[in-house]
Amino acid sequence: MRATAPSRTQLGAPPATGGAPLDFEVSNLWKVFGADSARIASDESMRSHSAADILASTGCVTAVRDLSFSVARGEVFVVMGLSGSGKSTLVRCLTRLIEPTAGAISLDGHDVMALNPKELRELRRRKVSMVFQHFGLLPFRSVLDNVAFGLEIRGIGPAERYATAREVIELVGLHGYEARFPDQLSGGMQQRVGLARALAADPDVLLFDEPFSALDPLIRRDMQAEVIRLHRDMGKTMVFITHDLNEALKLGDRILIMRNGELVQIGTGDELVGAPADEYVADFVSDVARSHVLTLKWVVTDVPHDLPSGASTLPANTIISDAIPAVLGSSSPVLVVDGDTVIGVVDRDAILREVAGVPHIC
């Protein structure tokens, strides 16, 4: 596995963006489906029209609209939005499985849009693998052959590719199922095969398009844990598409929220919950148990002048629910520190308000 991958101690911590190498860097990405698509993207006046207007006047569907974002190395970057908001289109544009209409994409500093078909295939074979919602397994190949398929495409001989495939099968917990065929496996196991197939190529980046949406809730939880574990062990960059906010919060270092192909907000989970950019996001996050997502920095109040000396302290990135015992057990408000600087205090009232779900009044 890649040696440069930073090891991270806590899932959900903000990525080290300052100076850390970037994997994907996407700017002003457009995807318009339809006969006139090229004209629309190049035409400045059309760009200002809404998706509905473009559809009405040209019959073209604007699936991705002027998106810009970057994904840091080792980050789990989640793209979230309702069905039809353009998530699948976006993630396919990253390796040009769907050809973008306009915009720039670079991977590890290389211009993806400039690659010729052969170079693009190399990129898909070695650098970026994808896991699909409907698995995309070959029904006439055994689990082993499905997992080894990417290596076979790359031209690697049978001995080596089966050895690698067996290792990866072990890794995803499918040991003993090598000779089975996809239709003899449950949905969750099929997706493990899909995951193993993507991992077999040892890519730098994994793309997931709603990989667990077709699975039962319990199995989905297992698979999410599996992804978290793999990420911890391998530190691969992941771009993860989902329409499930809880999944996004659970997995994502940062989350991009899309609506009708446009970027609505981008930020860490607690930024989205703590400071939703608009009604849409606020609506989205309204059902979330805030105390499980927000950190103390979202509920601090100014340090009162009568604070007794010797008050206990907690780090600012402590999740509220984790701080409950300490705060409730303390007779006075608790100091919240970010490194060496005190950013404020939390008291029982602030904690209980969040636990009870009463919105924080800013």
């Binding site: 295939r121 898909r124 994808m130 698995f135």
Partner: protein, 677 residues
């Protein structure tokens, strides 16, 4: 395809009524015109008469036979193809039929042949079909027709191999490229509207008569199903899999070989089954251009009206059809389960068993090359002549004892329906008949269909066969009306009752795999040679496909619509006439389209059993060189009639509905295409 939404039964009914009145009015006007102008401008032509065009075609024939040795196009192109096809056929002929040297026995003798085909059936299928194959091939010997059956088998095999070599690549190409599909599909559609008869004369002109041109005609007739189903299989591969394979960085070649072709395998094998059955049907008909084999026996027997011999040869064809169908069907099942679901141990056992079987084959071949009894099927075991005389006797008895029934039925219908209708068509002035046809085409098919029909009718007149074309058209229409009546009644029963469906479907499937020739024999036995016989054979030949399409249409009517009708207290009859039939209208129109094409094809073959008209012209063209040109022209006229009927009914179907679930234009079978998974 139009995009009109399906209409509700009510608006359909209100739309039909004025149209029906219009058609009735046209027919009344026609009857009046006939009464007034009977016998004028009929463009009649006696059966031995020819036109200048026919004479010119005769000269072309003579010119070709005089110059084929010196003309480079013939020497290099046509003779080259002929030589290559002949060489491949020669391999199988030597293997299965006879070598040119010595006793003219097959290379591996009859025992070797039976052992080899049985082994192949076991290898591609299973033990049951292997047993069937062994019994079937031995039965050819018992019927006294081993050599003839092997001719048919060898030619069919050659044609199927060439069809696959040509058809699978074309199918892949059509499956991969939209543009290729746009080129290939209309060509296949056109080829499948052509009755098998019409390929023969032009091919005989280019490639001479005999086995190679029979194989070429068969390839042209039998390749479309495998092309279609290969293209379908390639295209039907799930997009989700294709995308996953792309995401792994597969190039086009890898994508085709590792994904698309394996996913298409089922569909290709189904196509192979249809191609094999079409090939068998055509190889027997190619007897008319001197292809040896069972077809030849049937033709000879039909021409001498020897029902006994025709029956025995027909029985052998039926056995061949059953064996080939069962084996290729079993092969497609095997393709489905293939390597999977079977453990290593079971696979190893199978390999060992097949290896042992191969030793038996080698033993049988050795025996055949050593002992005469194993090389040539012993005459003493043959019951062919005995069976022939029994059937001949039975036929004579039936024709005598049942003559009250059969002769009255035949004469009654001939006098009451066939003759008057034929008189109306051939006795009216040609422009009156043409105007009636075009008016009906305009009402049911629309402007484009009318333009095509006008062109077709003009060309029929130009080739000088108007009267014969009208006789054939009349027989075709009568047979189609009867076929549709049977098809709707049986189809409704079948569509409404799954029990009847279960029971009837295998019968219909089996009937559809039978070569056209076979249908003539029993009715020749019952009714003797006549136009009536050809019409009855055509009705029986076309009924299975019509029944199936109607049943499918009735079955596809949503259960909700039926429940809704029943909940309002509609009786069974009301449900059928007010809900199911109107909602299945598009299927019924499609069934009419298929019915017409099948009927036309068979009515023409009926030229062999006294069907007369265009079919007779074609047959006579093969046997008398002075009528060659007329036969060729008759072939063209048949094609023109086919195109006209197809265009009219097809645009009627398209007007009814955009798309029908599960219907497609395959000629040899309408077995549903299994969904690739």
């Amino acid at each position: 395809m139009t995009t009109t939404p399906p209409r509700s039964p009510r608006t359909l009914a209100t739309r039909i009524r004025p149209r029906t009145w219009l058609i009735v009015g046209i027919i009344v006007a026609w009857l009046l015109a006939w009464r007034l102008l009977d016998g004028l401008w009929t463009l009649s032509l006696q059966s031995a008469e020819v036109t200048p065009l026919h004479l010119w075609l005769n000269e072309v024939n003579v010119w070709v036979s005089n110059n084929r040795d010196s003309n480079p196009v013939f020497v290099y192109l046509f003779d080259g193809i002929r030589g290559a096809v002949g060489a491949l056929a020669g391999v199988f002929i030597a293997l299965f039929v006879k070598t040119d040297v010595g006793l003219q026995l097959p290379e591996i003798g009859w025992l070797g042949v039976v052992a080899l085909v049985t082994w192949v059936a076991a290898a591609v299928g299973n033990l049951r079909v292997a047993l069937l194959t062994a019994v079937g091939f031995t039965a050819f010997g018992v019927l006294g027709l081993f050599g003839d059956a092997m001719w048919t088998f060898a030619l069919t095999l050659t044609a199927v191999i060439i069809s696959c070599l040509i058809g699978i690549p074309i199918g892949i190409w059509a499956g991969l490229s939209r543009r290729a599909e746009a080129v290939v599909t209309p060509v296949l559609d056109f080829m499948q509207t052509l009755p098998s008869f019409v390929y023969l004369a032009p091919l005989a002109l280019l490639f001479l008569i005999g086995p190679p041109s029979a194989v070429i005609a068969t390839v042209i007739y039998a390749a479309p199903p495998i092309i279609r189903l290969t293209a379908h299989g390639i295209r039907a591969g799930p997009a989700t899999i294709g995308e996953a394979v792309d995401s792994l960085g597969a190039n086009r070649r890898q994508r085709l070989w590792t994904t698309l072709l394996p996913l298409a395998r089922n569909s290709i094998v189904v196509g192979l089954n249809q191609t094999v059955m079409a090939a068998l049907s055509m190889v027997t008909i190619a007897a008319l251009i001197a292809a040896p084999g069972l077809g030849q026996r049937v033709v000879q027997a039909l021409q001498s009206l020897n029902v006994g011999n025709a029956f025995v040869a027909g029985l052998a064809i039926v056995v061949m059809a059953i064996v080939l169908d069962r084996v290729t069907t079993a092969a497609s099942r095997r393709a489905e389960i293939s390597a999977r679901h079977s453990t290593d141990a079971r696979r190893r056992r199978r390999v060992v068993a097949l290896g042992a079987g191969l030793l038996v084959v080698v033993g049988a071949v050795y025996a055949s090359r050593t002992f005469l009894w194993a090389a040539r099927f012993p005459d003493g075991l043959s019951i062919g002549p005995w069976l022939s005389s029994v059937v001949g006797g039975a036929t004579a008895w039936v024709q005598g004892a049942l003559s009250i029934l059969t002769a009255n039925l035949k004469d009654g219908i001939t006098i009451a329906i066939i003759n008057p209708f034929q008189a109306l068509l051939t006795g009216s002035p040609f422009f009156v008949v043409a105007a009636v046809i075009l008016a009906i085409a305009l009402i049911v098919g629309g402007v484009r269909a009318t333009v095509v029909s006008a062109l077709c009718l003009a060309l029929v007149i130009a080739v000088g066969l108007w009267e014969d074309a009208m006789v054939t058209l009349g027989a075709t229409l009568i047979a189609t009306v009867v076929t549709m009546a049977i098809g709707i009644v049986v189809g409704v029963v079948m569509g409404r009752s799954s029990r009847v469906d279960q029971w009837l479907r295998p019968v219909l499937d089996a009937a559809q795999t039978m070569p056209a020739f076979v249908y003539l024999i029993p009715f020749l036995g019952l009714f003797g040679p006549s136009r009536f016989t050809a019409i009855v054979a055509a009705v029986i030949y076309a009924s299975p496909v019509v029944i199936k399409i109607v049943a499918e249409g009735i079955g596809a009517v949503s259960a909700e619509a039926v429940e809704a009708a029943e909940s309002t207290g509609a009786s069974g009859w009301q449900t059928i006439t007010k809900v199911q039939l109107p909602l299945a209208a598009a299927s019924i129109t499609l069934a009419t389209n298929q019915g017409l094409i099948y009927v036309l094809s068979m009515v023409v073959v009926g030229g062999l059993v006294g069907g007369g008209a265009l079919g007779y012209d074609v047959v006579a063209g093969f046997s008398q060189s002075s009528l060659f040109g007329k036969g060729l022209a008759a072939g063209v006229a048949i094609v023109l009639l086919g195109i006209m009927l197809d265009r009219i009914t097809k645009s009627a179907t398209q007007r009814r509905v955009t798309r029908l679930p599960g219907t497609r234009r395959a000629r040899t079978s309408t077995a549903p295409i299994p969904a690739a998974h």
